[in-house]
């Protein structure tokens, strides 16, 4: 079977980095490009970090494009309090040398979807949805050509993380999230309800570290750094692992459960803006627009992650 072609839109971030490594290590996926966005840290840092991760995986052949440096309508909010000042604190990675392509990430998305056969190329978003929202405004014709968007976004039963109501990615650019959710595109949303089940326990990080290859060891060091904030906040034995869940869904949809529901994004409420309003129980007449995942087999997920990262340098 031919590999599934994807573009990854990301704001690394340690968990973004592990998601990139998982995708690059999986023969079922062909990563056609990486686009960066401002989110966990500013754009120059996320782009720098993406270069480091591609080099760590030995995949400097993957085209890397810098996307939007700011959300569509709001001031940028970042999360150095979780990810550290560089966004990729933890391992000591070399200064990257691979180039960033000249073309803006939004234009790369547009041209890639126009060049692809309709449906054959999908998008995975790990950060705020600014780039794809901008692309849909600039070139609405691409909507009919995008296979699917698998996004790390949303929360229902877990409440929010950056505010009591909102998850980080939609909080940073709620207008972009709203635009994408109203686009009519096939969307799979991987929310905090799923990612909070995937706790990076000591045993799981030790298993990665024990693989001994540089990518797996670096992944374990990254997650050991970033989990400190969440462990203190939640009082749990380990931290949630978010972004690799989106890649895992492409590889093993059978280890997830979910439901097709309506998801709207709150834009106006001061207390609640950026919140994903999920009509799980169908108490409204809103038409379902999202495959909203609800649960995951965390053991199978970590087994997959460990097995795949072993394939990298």
């Amino acid at each position: 079977m031919l590999p599934q072609k994807i573009i990854i839109d990301t704001d690394p971030g340690q968990d973004d980095a592990v998601a990139l490594l998982l995708a690059l290590a999986s023969p079922e996926l062909s990563v056609e490009g990486v686009v960066t966005v401002a989110g966990n840290v500013p754009l120059d840092r996320t782009t720098y970090n993406a270069r480091q991760v591609l080099e760590l995986a030995g995949r400097t052949d993957v085209p890397l494009h810098a996307g939007a440096a700011r959300p569509m309508r709001r001031d940028l909010v970042t999360a150095e309090h979780v990810h550290g000042p560089t966004g990729l604190d933890g391992p000591s990675l070399p200064v990257p040398t691979m180039p960033v392509r000249d073309k803006h990430g939004v234009d790369f998305l547009i041209e890639s979807f126009r060049a692809a056969t309709p449906g054959e190329l999908s998008l995975v978003t790990l950060g705020p949805l600014t780039n794809i929202a901008m692309a849909l405004v600039k070139a609405p014709d691409i909507a009919a050509r995008i296979g699917r968007i698998v996004m790390i976004a949303g929360t229902r039963l877990e409440g929010g993380n950056i505010t009591p109501a909102a998850a980080f990615n939609e909080y940073v650019d709620p207008e972009a999230a709203d635009l994408v959710l109203r686009s009519g595109l096939p969307i799979t949303m991987v929310p905090m309800d799923v990612t909070h089940r995937c706790l990076s326990t000591k045993a799981r990080l030790d298993a990665l570290r024990a693989l001994g290859n540089r990518a797996a060891v670096a992944a374990a060091e990254m997650l050991s750094f970033s989990e400190a904030f969440d462990m203190q906040k939640y009082g749990w034995e380990a931290a949630p692992l978010h972004d690799p869940c989106a890649i895992a869904f492409l590889l093993r949809p059978d280890i997830f459960t979910g439901r097709k529901v309506h998801v709207g994004i709150e834009l106006k409420g001061e207390l609640t803006y950026g919140m994903s309003v999920v009509d799980w129980w169908r108490v409204t007449d809103r038409v379902p627009n999202v495959d909203f995942l609800h649960d995951i087999d965390a053991h199978a997920f970590y087994a997959l992650l460990t097995q795949r990262l072993a394939r990298l340098p």
Partner: protein
């Protein structure tokens, strides 16, 4: 000495259970009066239902007052789809012979609090908070004299019931809830997070029916009627039993657990109107204004409720 309470209520079968529980525990609760509220059903029906319940229990010396027939700023939203056209469908209760006290419910709240020593009167709220909020506006001097307010209201981890993000009592009158939450009262909330753990399984309803008195079987019939909607909606083994969480918490706080946190109500946006943004993880600087109950022991809860109802005629 029994706690002297005013009950704000819009029965509603689950509130009937709460009222029966309190009337069956006179050593804990001295019920000074019932203030009927518009909510689950219109005021004329909730008033009549209060009278029916007092006659059912033989507590006909307790006065009933009509409160406001509408929320402070919004048109009334009701829930006949859950509770039936009378709000108390299920058993065949006779039309009441008692009549309501002619004083307005808001006036009764104010006069009772001012006529008694400070910190001796507790407000038990099972309904939208309209009448308490109106009393606080009309007579701000009562604020510091109220012993405590214990209210069934809100949702965080369980999100919402009347909309994807709002619990009914808060949704019906979000401005009233906002006024009460900002008043500086000693306030405890029993939200859906805890009431959704208290499922009225067939075995638990059977225990009411088997009490052998008049009230137990009537309560079982009420709850069998009202649970039909939730059983269909959620597909659970029993329906959540909301109202009695309030008196049960007051009688046996040790079977519940919670945290002191900030809870704020969304009033500025349509999509998330009436949502209680609960800062469970302490990620904002908002002042702690509520003891928010998140969990409880359903076995102990139903045991206590059955015991109290069993002491009635």
């Amino acid at each position: 000495m029994a706690e002297r309470v005013i009950i704000l209520t819009d029965p509603g079968q689950d509130q009937a259970a709460a009222i029966l529980m309190m009337l069956g525990a006179p050593e804990v609760f001295e019920v000074l009066g019932l203030v009927a509220t518009a909510g689950n059903i219109d005021l004329a029906h909730t008033l009549r239902n209060c009278l029916k319940l007092l006659e059912l229990t033989g507590c006909t010396d307790i006065p009933v007052f009509a409160g406001c027939p509408r929320p402070i700023r919004r048109p009334l939203v009701m829930a006949e789809h859950v509770h039936g056209p009378t709000g108390l469908d299920g058993p065949d209760l006779p039309e009441p012979w008692m009549s309501a006290d002619p004083r307005h419910g808001v006036r009764f709240i104010i006069e009772t609090i001012l006529a008694n020593p400070p910190d001796t009167i507790t407000i038990v709220s099972l309904s939208p908070l309209t009448n308490l909020a109106m009393a606080l506006i009309e007579a701000p001097e009562i604020t510091g004299r109220i012993r405590r307010v214990v209210a069934m209201a809100g949702a965080y981890f369980e999100v919402g019931n009347i909309t994807p993000t709002a619990e009914f009592n808060v949704y019906v009158d979000p401005e009233a809830a906002d006024i009460v939450l900002r008043a500086g009262l000693d306030l405890t909330l029993l939200p859906l997070d805890v009431t959704h753990k208290m499922l009225s399984t067939p075995q638990r309803l059977g225990a009411f029916a088997a009490l052998g008195n008049r009230c137990g079987p009537a309560l079982a019939e009420m709850l069998r009627f009202s649970e039909a909607f939730d059983l269909r909606k959620y597909g659970w083994e029993g329906a959540p039993l909301h109202g009695p969480c309030v008196p049960a918490y007051m009688m046996a706080p040790d079977i519940f657990s919670g945290r002191r946190i900030n809870v704020s109500v969304e009033t500025g946006s349509e999509l998330t109107l009436g949502m209680t943004a609960a800062d469970w993880w302490g990620i904002t600087e908002r002042p702690k204004n509520v003891f928010y109950v998140r969990d409880g022991d359903p076995v102990a809860y139903y045991h206590l409720l059955t015991h109290c109802v069993g002491r009635l005629p």
